[in-house]
Symmetry: C2
């Protein structure tokens, strides 16, 4: 048994005999002496193999990279001038008395400190990739965070209760992963997209405070930050108000950052959804970027410039400016690049004005569009944006969604650019907030129906119950999202605890009574038996850790992730299976010869 | 927000105003006053509604069972003579000032205190069933145990690392649950039967100490104590010996019993597999039962009684006696019942001898078989069993497996019987032990091949490597099971950490090199890169909690279990799915009209 982890050996061990287990991170000969950097999960320590112990030295000569070793030796101070300030163990070394090769290694396919590996190589050789100190740190932090979450919830009376992985398919929301039943011919389980219904049932059952850190599944085409299976910190409580829930879980995330990272988060601003969309065009604004929209829709109704007046006079249209302080130094080439960028979000172009001299009014502006705007409009633009000499104004004018998406993305792009950082438009800090008062419903034009913004079990604000039937678009929900640095960390809502209100939501969503019975009958049934007022939220653990570690990809905080083609390159999953297995499950392949994938 | 849980209100609250949330457990009128037993997850408190507050009293009159209520009131001592010693709150009551119905309830389909409900009713109305105090206690204890496990492992440097749920099908061992891939036509994921390979890979990756409390899946026909999905406490460590691992996890289970239940477990005896089979015919002996086998195979070789001499002279046969002290009082009828019982395990009958007077030898015995045994055999039976006057001797003679199964089961049956308990053959205590030195392989006669007893990654004992090729049946593994009261709580092994040894095991198991590559290539590959010596074990959490709560069924310690037909009666899973879903997954049903299930 080891006496210490390698990475923890420091000057307090001076003079002690230690037993270490680890891997040969580097090995080098220097002046007839062999130096081995011995690595374990806690870090590296330098082991010195001196030729005056011939047997041990002979073993050391055979050591190559990634050999698994046992070292017994004496800790001593390094010679002056040879300390390594980058290592916790950098002031000491271990003079090796005894060296045992526990297992040799063939030559690894890559150097562990090579930072330019393709993701394919890394995921194919994931076991070696996981030996890299950064991956070890990421997964150790992930564990620390999960444990801090558990400690906080335990101290607050929350109980971890497991909900089923093999459950019922409800073709709402995302696509389910299905699991054919062997016992029940023609029937299928689904893997849970979230334990939403079960956690509500546990509240009805009286468990009062529930949590689970659990896998959820969505069979969707993968974006950079999505995985087929992802981990959710899932929480529900009875008898608390929205404000009490928010306060508690703001406290939880604050305690996690404090205890796992030594970071003190600020108090969260609370921002209504409408304000977030108004100022930032986003329901998850990155408050590190100090740029805001200026509303101009009303100003542009009567200008002789269709690009602005069109959206300004069309219901659902919006015109905004984004003032970029000091942006006049941005080159035409960069503006052209931003113009291409906003097209990704559906914008047709990107109007702009450089403000050279505010005092001169129209004549102090440089822009292809100024000639199309009357004096009153120009005056209002300058006044509302508070433009100063040397600023650049960008404009968005289109359907609200396009303006919000395009200028919202532009806001981030400019803020995070070198220019933005240099000019103080971006503050490198932790910027959390709550976004609240989400709409209950959003209109799906394609389907000509209202959909639930959050999910159909979300409670309307007190007094908004009637709006569900009369004006669904005006109905506000008791829903809340926690946002950090422009990422949605988590979200939740107060749930509906009365069967009659739940039925009204289903009516607004045009879910037939039969469908209600089939899909949610057990929930409606449970609500009849004195269901308590309850609510909760869920956090994406993968995303939280990605943020905390500043990892480039969510795949860097998951031990064995899938690729964006939903494959595990290490094990080769998914794979073909035996015909016998399919027969037992009462299914067959549609395509006898599976298409190459 | 509540000021206390109902069940925690006691005499220390005397005189305080409390706010409680809970359910109307019982309501009764008595002398013009309404008494409501208000229940939450911590227990029950008596609420007194007095008519001198008319508005509140009117509300109280409308309260029915399972209404969800908010009560504000003043705690006071109960009147002398009306205390309830069964309740933590039984010396006090709450004089209700304010009563609010948070949600009414329709009449529940059963009384919560009805102990004679069918399992079908309970699982169909699981939400109400979970309100029963016993179910609340079971799941709260389950949580407490899981948390104690986490605390212990955290303190010992173990790190919770999540392994994939969507993984590769390896048609070894039990049947996999399959998940069709949408992206890869004709291919399937499998749900993990255990994270075995991944935890070994994490050791190779250098994480040193891993754990996970995670769901595992086996699509097998269900026995009483099996579920399609079950929860495993899965653990692996590098650089520890078998003895060190056993000591650590004996400590873990001891700490769990101490901290979650206040039970101090004894030090575990360590028993080789061979001894367990020799004495108890079982590799998970229930040491609470004070009965042991007496080996008689050698004695019976030359008796003139084929029933005994046949097995005694056949390789793989066994003859044993089970001495039951005081068993002479067991009636012929009971003996006949035991005879039927052992037939379940393949025994053809059950020979027996009642010992009336040892001193008289053959003449002091009452038995249908004594006439067939010569004097030397009878002398040896009496000497070896240590039979006393009033004892009963049972005999098993057959293939070893049949004898072990049948007489092993008989040993438990007699020990746990009323007779056994009355006569001190059963001691009501916690009786843990380690069973060690399991064989590496067991012979499958049907398939004419050796199978791995534990799993094919188990290390042979030092010095037994060569036996894998020359005498697989004699090869002993570094495998160990933790047994408690006759249940296997968990088990594990030291794993093979060298690729060459792993290959030899696959050879002994006659797994072709091609199959090795396809199924375990990634493990063999990983072992080449300096894999550390490692080992671990896994505990069945469901089973552990079932034992701790003395629940009748594993389903009583799982919030939403499946029936023995692998169905969820609450949600109706599994269920039919849309044709569109099947099409997207490139599969179709074999039977257009699913058979009724």
């Amino acid at each position: 048994m080891r006496s210490s982890y390698c990475g923890l050996v420091n000057e307090t061990f001076d003079g002690q005999i230690v037993t270490l287990m680890g891997w040969a991170h580097r090995r080098r000969d220097h002046g007839g002496v062999i130096f081995i950097d011995l690595r374990d999960r806690e870090g590296v320590v330098q082991v010195v193999c001196d030729p005056d112990r011939p047997e041990m030295f002979k073993t050391a000569e055979g050591v190559r990279g990634e050999f698994c070793l046992k070292v017994v030796g004496k800790v001593r101070q390094r010679m002056a001038g040879t300390e390594n300030a980058n290592l916790a163990s950098g002031r000491v070394e271990v003079l090796c008395h005894d060296l045992e090769v526990l297992n040799p290694s063939v030559t690894p396919p890559f150097q562990l400190d090579d930072d330019n590996l393709s993701e394919t190589v890394r995921l194919t050789h994931r076991v070696l990739d996981l030996r890299r100190p950064q991956m070890q740190k990421n997964l150790m932090l992930r564990y620390r965070v999960a444990m801090e979450v558990r400690k906080f919830l335990d101290a607050n009376g929350f109980v971890d209760i497991e909900t089923p992985m093999l459950t019922k398919s409800t073709p709402e929301g995302a696509r389910d992963y299905l699991v054919p039943s062997r016992v029940h011919d023609g029937q299928f389980f689904a893997l849970p997209q979230s334990p939403q219904l079960f956690k509500q049932l546990l509240m009805v059952a009286g468990f009062d405070r529930y949590y689970q850190i659990t896998k959820c599944f969505r069979d969707e085409d993968l974006r950079a930050d999505r995985q087929p299976e992802f981990t959710q910190i899932d929480i529900e409580t009875s008898f608390l108000t929205e404000e009490e829930i928010r306060a508690m879980f703001e406290g939880m995330i604050r305690s996690v950052f404090r205890n796992a990272m030594g970071v003190e988060l600020p108090v969260y601003p609370v921002m209504p959804y409408s304000e977030a969309m108004f100022k930032y065009g986003s329901d998850k604004p990155d408050l590190r970027v100090k740029l805001e929209f200026t509303e101009l829709t009303d100003v542009m109704k009567d200008v002789d410039f269709k690009v602005f007046s069109g959206p300004a006079t069309t219901p659902g249209g919006r015109v905004v400016a984004l003032r970029v302080p000091g942006g006049a130094e941005i080159s035409r080439g960069e503006i052209d690049a931003y113009t291409e960028f906003v097209k990704i979000y559906g914008a047709k172009g990107l109007a702009w004005i450089k403000v050279n001299d505010v005092a001169k009014g129209r004549d102090g502006l440089q822009s292809p569009i100024v000639k199309n705007l009357h004096d009153a409009a120009i005056g209002e633009i300058l006044a509302r944006t508070g433009a100063c000499n040397g600023d650049l104004l960008f404009f968005g004018a289109d359907k609200s969604k396009v303006v919000n998406d395009a200028i919202g993305a532009l806001r981030l792009k400019v803020g995070h650019s070198e220019f933005g950082k240099k000019n103080g438009l971006f503050e490198d800090k932790w910027a959390p907030l709550w976004v609240v008062d989400f709409p209950m419903f959003e209109y799906d034009e394609g389907e000509d129906r209202w959909n639930a913004c959050h999910h159909p079990f979300t409670s309307p604000k007190d007094g908004h119950e009637q709006l569900m039937a009369t004006d669904p678009g005006a109905c506000v929900a008791k829903a809340y999202d926690m946002v950090l640095n422009g990422w949605e960390l988590g979200g939740g809502s107060i749930r509906i605890h009365r069967a009659d209100v739940q039925s009204k939501v289903f009516e607004a969503l045009k879910i037939s009574e039969e469908d209600q019975r089939i899909k949610f009958g057990f929930l409606l049934d449970a609500l009849q038996y004195g269901a308590p007022p309850h609510g909760g939220l869920a956090f994406g653990l993968d995303r939280l850790i990605t943020l905390m570690t500043k990892a480039e990809s969510i795949r860097d905080v998951i031990a064995f992730p899938k690729t964006q083609r939903a494959q595990c390159l290490l094990t080769g999953a998914p794979s073909n299976v035996d015909e016998k297995q399919l027969r037992e499950l009462h299914i067959r392949l549609r395509n006898a010869q599976p298409a190459a994938s």
